[in-house]
């Protein structure tokens, strides 16, 4: 449980307050309900690029970071497929500065030519540094494109390619700001050595006059059920083959999501997981293996991936993986295994809540899904799911016609 209090401003801004008086610091976290799922082909990566622009200047703040550093604070942000999240950490006595800075850039961001052009270059370098100039770095570009036909999850948050980043126009950027960066599309969490009254007063003072959004959000194309297996071979100069096999699965809050989460916990979480024990420690094809889910709002992917031992092929690896997965589906789940994953879920909550910033982010994230209480209720639901239900969903998801496989093949230089 994370304690919180909640109120909503007239303009629609949802505000959560998490008081923790054991620290002298405070966190102000703002989540905008926009991510790469709100983008369109040809303009991919815009949500992430826009996050960079938010650190330029606003009408009354020449340089965002400097104004914050001057009061002893620091900040950062991230963008994913579903949300864009900004956070400030600073001495609690200076919390009002965070309100000033965040409200000014929500109300009146300066989209100067210089910022637009420089950040375009910076993001292109980020694209190269993280996705192109790394062995196996572009693999999720391939996987997403293969697995999704219509949904925007078919490109990664950085964007489909550099060309899209080159082509954003000023109009794209302005429209994006006016559509998504509005109070009624945001959740603000203020946490740490602060009080509800103080936050209520400052929220009203700094954010109260910001107008709500007027531009409706575009609807997001729905991905139709996959009807046949898809495969792709990628040749690259990498040390060994790698295998990526993904299956479509339900979105967060949908029926079956938590079962999918439990499937990958059992198969892929930790050193004792089924895949690690059978394929890595007691097998000769895989050097490493992992299984996890995309925790996305819309239906996402369950991912199995691994790197092969030298000389072993990705095709052979897929066969070995399929055997273990099949065996899992056909046998029962021992009680011990369920206890283990439930212990892990419980401990993970303890570890995560150590940091004030993590608590603030969790509240914002679950509020965006519908209610901060989901943080607790989803955990409780997950730990009560019976073994049969996990296996039923496993049989539903882990079908060949629902799979997409990328064989990432090592070729000689």
């Amino acid at each position: 449980m994370i304690n919180y209090q909640r109120f909503v401003l007239e303009n629609g801004l949802e505000v959560l307050v998490h008081e923790d008086h054991s620290t002298k610091m405070a966190v102000l976290n703002i989540l905008y309900k926009v991510g790469s799922r709100n983008e369109i082909p040809g303009k991919t990566g815009l949500a992430h690029y826009f996050e960079h622009l938010m650190f330029g200047s606003s009408k009354n703040v020449p340089v965002f970071d400097t104004a914050l550093e001057r009061v002893g604070g620091s900040c950062n942000a991230f963008t994913n497929t579903d949300i864009t999240n900004y956070y400030i950490t600073l001495p609690a006595v200076n919390i009002e500065t965070a309100f000033w800075l965040e409200s000014d850039r929500m109300l009146q961001l300066n989209l100067s030519e210089k910022t637009i052009e420089t950040q375009r270059k910076v993001v292109i370098e980020e694209f190269k540094q993280r996705y192109l100039n790394q062995p196996y770095g572009d693999v999720f570009h391939h996987i997403r494109k293969l697995a999704f036909d219509t949904h925007p999850y078919q490109w990664p948050t950085i964007g489909r390619d550099i060309e899209d980043i080159v082509n954003y126009s000023r109009e794209d950027v302005e429209e994006f700001y006016l559509t998504h960066y509005r109070p009624d599309n945001a959740i603000m969490v203020v946490a740490g050595d602060v009080s509800l009254d103080q936050v209520r007063f400052m929220a009203d003072k700094w954010f109260g006059e910001i107008p709500s959004g007027k531009i409706p959000k575009r609807s997001i194309p729905v991905e139709l059920p996959q009807t046949g297996k898809k495969t792709l071979v990628v040749d690259a100069e990498v040390p060994t083959d790698a295998l990526y096999k993904v299956y479509h699965m339900p979105g967060k809050l949908q029926e079956g999501y938590l079962q999918a989460d439990l499937i990958t916990d059992i198969l892929g979480f930790g050193r004792s997981s089924t895949l690690e024990q059978k394929l890595v420690k007691n097998g000769h094809i895989f050097a490493s293996v992992s299984a996890y889910i995309f925790g996305t709002v819309d239906p996402g992917l369950m991912v199995f991936s691994g790197k092969m031992e030298k000389g072993q092929s990705a095709e052979l690896a897929e066969k070995a993986l399929d055997l273990v997965v099949q065996e899992f589906l056909e046998s029962s789940i021992p009680e011990d295994t369920l206890t283990k994953v439930k212990n892990q879920a419980e401990a993970m909550k303890t570890y995560e809540s150590v940091q004030l910033l993590n608590r603030a982010m969790s509240l914002a994230y679950y509020a965006h899904l519908g209610s901060p209480d989901l943080y607790q209720t989803e955990y409780e639901k997950k730990t009560q799911i019976p073994a049969e239900s996990i296996l039923d969903w496993g049989k539903e998801i882990l079908k060949e016609e629902n799979a997409s496989t990328v064989y990432y093949k090592a070729v000689a230089k």
Binding site: S22, G72, Q344
Partner: protein, 423 residues
């Protein structure tokens, strides 16, 4: 209510920061234990750290410590590798290897709920490991693959070459690990290392919600660990002449740059001055290098300078992955920014920003109870205590621009720098 947004809210700079002292015990084998209680957090973290042979002037077969530590979880008397994995996962406890230039050891992260169950088995990893051949063979082939992947990364290669040139090919800190080093590792090397070199001058760093009985349990167990106490003989490094190494990679999309040199020890009277100089130059997001190379020119996603911490003498390094055709320009700009910061008057508002940022940062570093023990560890391992941070806070509040400029001039000059370009 309309608010005048053109006026920034008033702010205060925190006057004091609490640096709580850890509780200190000496176990019967001479091992020291440092403990910071965090009664409100039901997680527990225990770390045992000992001196790497290199800090004692001793020889170590390459990778012996790496493989010894990673093999501790691969089987002990009475428990196979699979049983150990299952045990720690069942109690949701994470065992991690610590393997740095100067220290090695193991850490345990667990919850109060499972602590007493997990601790005895964790302790057995330190004394009853078996090093089975099958698991070693797998570990070796995994290590070779990861070496091959790292070799492809320009940033990683640049860091390797930087360390090689800074510390020298013959010193463990400067050696580059190769496939053949992995192949040469034998089970017997690990057994020998385990018994002779693993637990030299170990210390325990502990935090979490622990009762007196739980502390006693730790004291009782770890007091039985056979340890070796040896006087340290720290290596002595000095700067050579300016040196540049370029490894061109036709297919690379960026060039990874490393520029740096040896500095001074943390207890040197001019240390804080140099530390602050580095912050202005490249040590925070508002730094001059970020402003120039990223925010003005857009040549990179990120450029930072930082101080690497070693027991004897710290070192300095600038790191960036940049547009290939601008790599020379970026290196020129690094020297220009150093020169400007040394020679030209520092604007008052920049001085205020850095001063306040650093105070806020220090407060932030000491605000999370669970992390205090790591702050203590890092400074304790350099032979200092929390007095270091008190002095640091005092320095941040009072330093003068001219003072740090003089110190910057003294220690950062092109003649001393090692420059690496890969890509």
């Amino acid at each position: 209510m309309t608010v005048d947004r053109s006026i920034a809210p008033a702010f205060q700079i925190p006057e004091r920061i609490d640096f709580p002292l850890p509780i200190h015990r000496t176990l019967k084998n001479g091992v020291r234990l440092y403990f910071i209680p965090t009664p409100e957090i039901s997680a527990i973290r225990l770390e045992i750290n000992s001196d790497a042979p290199a800090t004692l002037g001793m020889e170590e077969k390459k990778l012996a410590s790496y493989f010894t530590l990673h093999m501790l979880m691969e089987g002990i008397k009475g428990k196979t590798s699979a049983e150990l994995d299952d045990f720690f996962d069942t109690y949701a406890s994470e065992v991690e290897v610590i393997n740095t230039f100067e220290h090695h050891g193991l850490s345990l992260l667990t919850t109060k709920k499972h602590f007493q169950t997990v601790l005895p088995i964790f302790f057995k990893l330190l004394t009853e490991a078996l090093f089975p051949e099958k698991e070693l063979a797998k570990r070796k082939s995994q290590k070779i693959l990861s070496l091959n992947i790292l070799k492809e990364k320009t940033g990683n290669r640049a860091s390797q070459l930087f360390r090689q040139e800074l510390f020298g090919k013959s010193h463990p800190y400067g050696q580059i690990t190769e496939e053949k080093d992995v192949e040469e590792i034998q089970r017997l090397d690990l057994i020998e290392f385990y018994h002779k070199q693993l637990w030299i001058n170990p210390e325990i760093f502990l935090t979490g919600n622990l009762s007196t009985e739980e502390i006693k349990l730790i004291e009782g167990l770890f007091g039985e660990l056979p340890v070796v106490q040896i006087e340290k003989k720290l290596p002595n490094f000095g700067n050579g002449n300016h040196l540049r190494l370029v490894e061109d990679r036709e297919k690379a999309l960026q060039s990874s740059i490393r520029v740096g040199c040896h500095l001074i020890p943390k207890n040197h009277p001019e240390y804080f001055g140099l530390w602050v100089f580095n912050v202005f130059l490249g040590g925070y997001f508002g730094s001059r290098l970020i402003k120039n190379i990223r925010e003005d020119k857009g040549h990179t996603y990120g450029i930072y300078s930082s101080i690497g911490s070693l027991q004897a003498t710290d070192y300095w390094v600038v790191m960036a992955d940049v547009i290939k055709e601008h790599r020379e320009a970026v290196i020129d700009e690094i020297y220009k920014e150093i020169h400007k910061l040394q020679m030209e008057e520092i604007p008052l508002d920049e001085l205020e920003t850095v001063r306040n940022y650093l105070i806020g940062n220090l407060l932030s570093n000491f605000s999370s109870a669970f992390e205090l023990i790591s702050r203590f560890k890092s400074i304790h391992q350099s032979g200092l205590d929390f007095g270091f941070y008190k002095k640091q806070l005092e320095f941040i509040k009072t330093f003068q621009a001219e003072q740090i400029q003089e110190i910057g001039k003294k220690y950062l000059s092109k003649e001393k720098m090692v420059e690496i370009i890969v890509g």
